[in-house]
């Protein structure tokens, strides 16, 4: 459980980090909180020649309202986000979801940006970003760009990030008075990666719901929207929404849950989260 030898560079700016990535290609990895990467290094599942530490880059640890969005810098830690009044007010989905992520020691170091960039299929943050319809800010050799969450998660640990790209921040739409959020997951133990999880947002339209976004995690190679179920919920038919999951989702079983169990629990979660979406805000 000792990592293979690697070189270490501390980037002072995004440009420096991107330049280092461009120079070393696949042999370099960015490290922020390190909560997934260090374990992989120690198990020698990953053996980069160079670690580029981005923790010293200033300006990436901030949470701020900019225009009609909430900007969360790439280095914002889970604990920081959980305690931030701006997050509680403008992104209550994150406030609901973050306590489910691992344990306090991990939340103290782990970053929201790192989780989105890593795109673990069982992680909470990619699904939250997808449910929120957030934008992901990226800097690369050709400059800065923004990618919508719907276009960001491409497959198993595969995202719109190129080999020399760095995720610099997340832009979340501000929570409005008619917005509803829901979050629930099943895990064998508190803090484990979910067997099945669901992050959701919607807009209240009278007694019904519009703009429903259901983002499942641990139900495929990456966070995935259940579009059939979204439409059924918008039509006000919860049973049809649960039935639609059969076509929306195609999980593979693993040692903690068979495919049948995952599909069954996905339906249970949908009923639970649909209840949350229908609740009046406090």
């Amino acid at each position: 459980m000792k990592p293979a030898t690697f070189a270490y560079a501390r980037a002072q700016s995004v440009a420096e980090a991107v330049a280092a990535l461009a120079a070393h290609g696949d042999e370099a990895r960015l490290i922020a909180g390190g909560q997934s990467l260090v374990a992989m290094l120690n198990m020698r599942l990953s053996a980069p020649r160079l670690l580029i530490d981005i923790n010293a880059i200033s300006g990436l640890s901030e949470i701020a309202v900019e225009g009609d969005g909430l900007r969360i810098g790439a280095l914002v830690r889970y604990t920081q986000a959980l305690r931030a009044p701006l997050v509680a007010r403008h992104a209550p989905l994150l406030t609901r979801a973050i306590p489910h992520i691992a344990h306090a020691a991990i939340r103290n170091r782990g970053t929201l940006g790192g989780s989105v960039a890593f795109a673990d299929p069982a992680a909470e943050m990619p699904a939250c970003i997808l449910a929120l319809g957030a934008d992901i800010a990226i800097s690369g050799p050709d400059g800065a760009r923004v990618v919508a969450a719907d276009d960001f998660f491409l497959g198993l640990y595969e995202t719109a990030l190129g080999p020399a790209d760095m995720l610099t921040g997340l832009n979340l739409p501000l929570h409005g008075p008619d917005r509803r959020v829901g979050f629930a997951e099943f895990a064998r133990r508190h803090g484990d990666y979910a067997m099945v999880g669901l992050a959701a947002t919607a807009t209240a339209r009278g007694a019904g719901l519009g703009d429903v976004r259901l983002a499942y995690f641990s139900m495929g190679p990456c966070a995935v929207r259940a579009r059939g179920a979204e439409q059924a919920l918008e039509a006000g038919d919860l049973d049809a929404a649960v039935a639609a999951l059969e076509a929306d989702l195609d999980p593979t079983g693993d040692i903690h849950a068979s495919r049948d169990t995952k599909m069954h629990l996905a339906g249970v979660l949908l009923r639970r989260v649909a209840g949350q979406l229908s609740e009046q805000p406090q």
Binding site: M1, K2, P3, A4, T5, A39, M43, R44, F186, R188, R189, H190, G191, D192, Y193, M195, I255, H256, A257, S258, D260, T261, H264, L265, V268, R271
Partner: protein, 809 residues
């Protein structure tokens, strides 16, 4: 208390007794200051680190090893193959003569020409640091020829299954058949016969500190010092001497602090033998610390049993017979020297044990397979025997419509029936099943819980209550290992010495694994001697310094090591008052030692401080009467002789809710009878910790293997140990039935929690799911299994009530 008759005052009721008090552990401050002496932290001059290149295959022939590049790698001191190491360390065979028919194959410290499980060491890399050794390990090229792996224990004995060790003829390591009474007649005459299949997942111990060894062979003295996290230093001294070709006296085993054992660290591990052999080969200290990943593949596993069980009952609830047929897979070798047949043997011995039922039939078959070896882990065999017994009892109660408490009241051995014996011949000195049951029901408020359960049922909330009575083997005498030819001592010793200031040092052969042995030994000696606890220092875990003894396993340290310390403390007190009598010119019988001073026994008035006594003995012996020799050091040894084992008993109850396939533990109660309670806090901690490990086996822990013998979850991310968030409050109560075999009367308490918890949870789950007609008997009870059982029950149409929301379609 069990007995209605008030017990007379005994030696335990000495003034200022520490017996029965939750005194703080003397080693607590040291450990919490980070000054523990764990082998993992030990650094010696010229020390090098070994990393083992391990077989990725469950079964493979080793065709060739190319280590040339590894030998040239940075920091590498030596690269050694199994064949080379076999010149230094002889192989062993894990059998005991009293396990008739038990067979195993010779096992080497490292694979010589064939690896028999995923994780077996094939090449040793010794380097300046662990990291450099790991770097070099990646450069070793091994040409394997994969061989068919035997992984399914249920087909291991089939004729078409390859035989792992052809010289043994088949894959059957051990078989035991037992018949007591007339089970055939009892089953034939029964009003009801209920059958069920039970499964117990393979799991492991997951100690906080992994296995660790620093082996230091000193060419100058010809001695090997093995710093080893072990439960049995003298056993390891003997075994290292045999296989390294050294005299026992040339081996010193040092075992200071150990970060948890649970039975994991009482066995002979091939990679630890290899580490010792490498030190002898290289003539310098070699350190091996298993990392977490290799711990999962090389620490012993346990359980992995499948049983068919049957119970015969009369319509009035009288249990008339039990029958079991057990199969267990133990990996490719029987573990040395305690063997891997013990768990199955215990299952045969213990099933039905709490009940007055003379008719019993059992078969157990122990088979080889290409997986990590299994051996004794906390509560060896008990969780299996208890779950099968208690599962069958509950199924019988449900069949005849009897409350689970009533069927137990009717059949548990009466509290006034002792001494008596079980169907398998286990001798019970004094147990308290009924007193324990009564106390448990009061603690949990059984009627209230049943009412709550019924009220919630109507709201679609499904809770269950489950019970598990059990017996537990503790304080083993020579019957466990000595009679089988293993040089594993069943006696323990203590040396108690008073120095010139009156301070006391105890050397004990019991060992400390983090459970508080040192505290208990200090309490016992302080009480026996009559001195304050804080002047008693305990030394353990060093074969050069402590008396010869067994160590800590099978819930024996307090009951056996504690009694030796008690007798030694009493002997020293007699010596002290003899000296005091000589100094004071008083009759020694009129004197006592209390509160750290020699006092007049009748009045309690202080006559002489121990410091003054020490001053005279050590510096002015010339003032003592002619011919009088003071002896301020006493030695005593103890082994139970009246009974082969001191059985304890207890009962546990679990209250839980099942929803969406998940089990939420709401409450857990234990009443336990370990005889005299030396330190109630330590006993309760042992019980609670044991319950948690039992709950782990019931709900979370399982070493998952694929059909090729590859472990699928060998990491802390995927192997689920029980965590605090999921644990219920655990209430512990006691009945006290001391053993008359010792003066202290203490029995073991370390494994009781683990013995009963899985059965209580299983019965509670089945109680919760009873309305759906679903019964689960395969551990661990995962959401997959619970949902699948509910689905099957619905497909069978077994449910006589509507399924609640949340059951799978």
């Amino acid at each position: 208390m069990t007995r209605d008759v008030p017990s007379p005052l005994t030696a335990l009721d000495r003034p200022n007794s520490y017996i029965g008090r939750a005194v703080p552990r003397p080693n607590l401050a040291r450990l919490t200051e980070g000054r523990g002496e764990y082998v993992s932290d030990l650094v010696l001059p010229r020390m090098v680190h070994v990393v083992y290149v391990r077989s990725p295959h469950a079964h493979a022939r080793i065709r060739a090893i190319d280590a040339a590049e590894a030998k040239r790698a940075k920091g590498v001191v030596a690269v050694v193959t199994g064949r080379e190491l076999a010149e230094v360390c002889t192989p062993w065979v894990g059998v005991l003569t009293h396990m008739v028919g038990l067979k195993s194959a010779p096992q080497h410290a490292m694979a010589v020409d064939r690896a028999c499980w995923q994780g077996e060491a094939v090449v040793a890399i010794v380097a300046r640091t662990r990291a450099l050794a790991e770097d070099a390990a990646e450069l070793v090229e091994i040409d394997y020829e994969p061989l068919p792996a035997v992984t399914d224990m249920m087909t291991a004995l089939d004729p078409q299954t390859p035989v792992i060790h052809p010289a043994l003829g088949d894959n059957l390591a051990f078989e035991r058949n037992f018949t007591g009474g007339d089970p055939a007649a009892a089953f034939a005459a029964a009003d009801h016969v209920i059958e069920a299949d039970f499964g117990f997942g393979r799991h492991t111990g997951v100690t906080l500190e992994p296995r660790a060894m620093v082996a230091d062979f000193n060419a100058g003295t010809g001695r090997l010092t093995a710093y080893l996290g072990t439960q049995a230093p003298h056993m390891m001294q003997n075994i290292l001497s045999i296989h390294l070709g050294m005299s026992e006296q040339q081996i010193r085993v040092v075992c200071k602090d150990v970060g948890g054992s649970f039975g994991i660290k009482v066995h002979v591990y091939a990679d630890e033998m290899a580490t010792a052999a490498l030190s002898k080969l290289l003539k310098r200290p070699v350190k091996f610390v298993a990392d977490r990943l290799e711990s999962f593949l090389t620490d012993i596993h346990a359980r992995d049993h499948r049983l068919k069980g049957r119970i015969a009952v009369k319509a009035d609830g009288t249990i008339t017979a039990f029958e079991i047929d057990d199969v267990t897979g133990i990996g490719p070798y029987s573990v040395y020297p305690r063997t891997s047949a013990v768990e199955a043997n215990q299952v045969v011995n213990l099933t039905g044990g709490p009940y007055a039922c003379p008719n019993y039939k059992a078969r157990a078959r122990v088979v080889f397979q290409n997986k990590t070896v299994t051996c004794q882990y906390r509560a060896v065999g008990h969780p299996i025997a208890t779950a099968v017994t208690e599962g069958l009892v509950d199924l019988a109660a449900r069949r005849i419509g009897m409350d689970p408490v009533e069927i137990r009241r009717k059949n548990l051995i009466r509290d006034d029936a002792y001494p008596c014996a079980s169907a398998t011949g286990l001798k019970f000195e004094a147990l308290s099943h009924h007193a324990a049951l009564d106390k448990l029901l009061a603690m949990m408020d059984y009627p209230k819980l049943r009412a709550e359960q019924a009220a919630l049922r109507t709201k679609g909330i499904h809770r269950g209550i489950g019970f598990a009575s059990f017996i537990e083997i503790t304080n083993p005498g020579a019957a466990f290992y000595g009679v089988g030819g293993a040089r594993i001592s069943s006696q323990d010793g203590a040396v108690v010495r008073m120095d010139a200031t009156g301070a006391v040092t105890v050397q004990t052969s019991a060992t400390e694994q983090g459970q508080g042995t040192e505290a208990v030994i200090a309490q016992v000696v302080a009480t026996a001697l009559g001195v304050p606890l804080d002047i008693v220092r305990v030394i353990s875990g060093d074969t050069d310094q402590t008396p010869y003894g067994g160590g800590t396993w099978a819930s024996r340290a307090a009951g056996i090591g504690g009694e030796a310390a008690w007798q030694a403390g009493k002997a020293l007190r007699a010596n002290v008052v003899a000296v005091a009598g000589a100094i004071l010119q008083a009759d020694p019988d009129s004197l006592d030692v209390r509160g750290g001073a020699v006092v007049d026994a009748a009045s309690g008035r202080e006559r002489l401080s121990l410091a003054e006594l020490g001053r005279i003995v050590y510096f002015r012996p010339d003032t003592l009467p002619p011919g009088f020799q003071a002896e301020l050091m006493a030695v005593r040894h103890y082994v139970p002789r009246g009974y082969p084992f001191a059985f304890t008993n207890g009962i546990q109850a679990s209250y839980l809710e099942v929803e969406d396939g998940f089990v939420k533990l709401l409450g857990h109660w234990v009443v336990e009878d370990c005889g005299t309670i030396l330190n109630p806090q330590l006993v309760d901690e042992q019980v609670r910790g044991g319950v948690v490990q039992g709950l782990g086996g019931a709900l979370f822990e399982q070493c998952v293997y694929d059909a090729e013998g590859q472990m699928q979850n060998a990491s802390m991310a995927d192997y689920l140990v029980p965590m605090a968030c999921e644990m219920p409050d655990i209430q512990v109560g006691h009945i006290v039935s001391p053993t008359a075999d010792s003066e202290l009367g203490a029995k073991g308490a370390g494994e009781a929690g683990t013995a009963g918890a899985p059965a209580a949870v299983m019965n509670a789950i089945n109680d919760a799911l009873a309305p759906f007609g679903a019964t689960l008997t395969e551990m661990p009870f995962t959401p997959d299994r619970i949902l699948s059982a509910l689905k099957q029950a619905r497909q069978r149409g077994g449910a006589d009530v509507a399924a609640p929301a949340g059951t799978p379609a």
